[in-house]
């Protein structure tokens, strides 16, 4: 068990894989971090020395925005759009897709689970 960037406790997986459990670190950054610290690909987290864990932690603290900070930044960006009263902000407020997708059908991710229209008769033969 290693705690990196606050709450994250990646398991006995490869370092490049388990680093992705941190919000804000995906495949590219995980590779980048391992490359810069010279950690071989097949090393697993439980095989890391304390020093290596420390260096990973320091590197992330220094150069990447992860977890809470990143979440806050994203939320701030959305809030800015909402306060501004621009089109994208309105879409965020209404919980509809922001990037111009169709809403006639689909858009279920943003709209949530489909609600049946109350009182609509089923077609029976």
């Amino acid at each position: 068990m290693a705690r990196i960037a606050g709450v994250n406790i990646p398991s006995n997986k490869r370092v490049t894989i388990s680093l992705r459990y941190i919000f804000g670190i995906g495949p590219t950054r995980a590779q980048e971090i391992c490359g810069r610290l010279g950690i071989p690909d097949e090393r697993r987290v439980n095989q890391l020395s304390d020093d290596e864990v420390l260096r990973i932690r320091e590197l992330i603290d220094r150069e990447y925005r992860v977890e809470g900070d990143l979440r806050r930044e994203v939320a701030m960006n959305i809030k800015r759009l909402m306060d501004l009263g621009c089109y994208r902000g309105l879409r965020h407020r209404k919980g509809l897709p922001v990037h111009g997708q169709r809403t006639h059908t689909n858009a279920r991710t943003r709209k949530g689970k489909a609600v049946p229209i109350a009182g609509k008769k089923k077609v029976t033969k």
Binding site: G85, C86, Y87, G119
Partner: protein, 92 residues
């Protein structure tokens, strides 16, 4: 894909003149514009524009945060009143 930086922001030229005269003369006059496609520039900050949405001129007070957005973003063109609760469902 965003617009190339070397082109600079897109603004209809006449807006610059309009903004300048508005700033020079009477204060707080709504400047009616149709050019929804124009980028909001720093020199527009503080002015009020009436941005046409196809029906009315919606007043938009330009603040610093709006710089870089387009005028059209602040003047919705569609009305959606929402689905009313079905009367039948209440009765049944």
């Amino acid at each position: 894909m965003p617009r190339s930086v070397w082109k600079g922001p897109f603004v209809d030229g006449f807006l610059l003149n309009k903004a300048e005269t508005a700033r020079g003369s009477g204060r707080n006059e709504i400047i009616k514009i149709w050019s929804r496609r124009s980028t909001i520039l720093p020199q527009f900050v503080g002015l009020t524009f009436g941005v046409y949405n196809g029906r009315k001129f919606l007043p938009v007070q330009v603040s610093e945060n709006m710089v870089g957005h387009k005028f059209g973003e602040f003047s919705p063109t569609r009305t959606f009143t929402g689905h009313s609760a079905d009367k039948k469902a209440k009765r049944g």
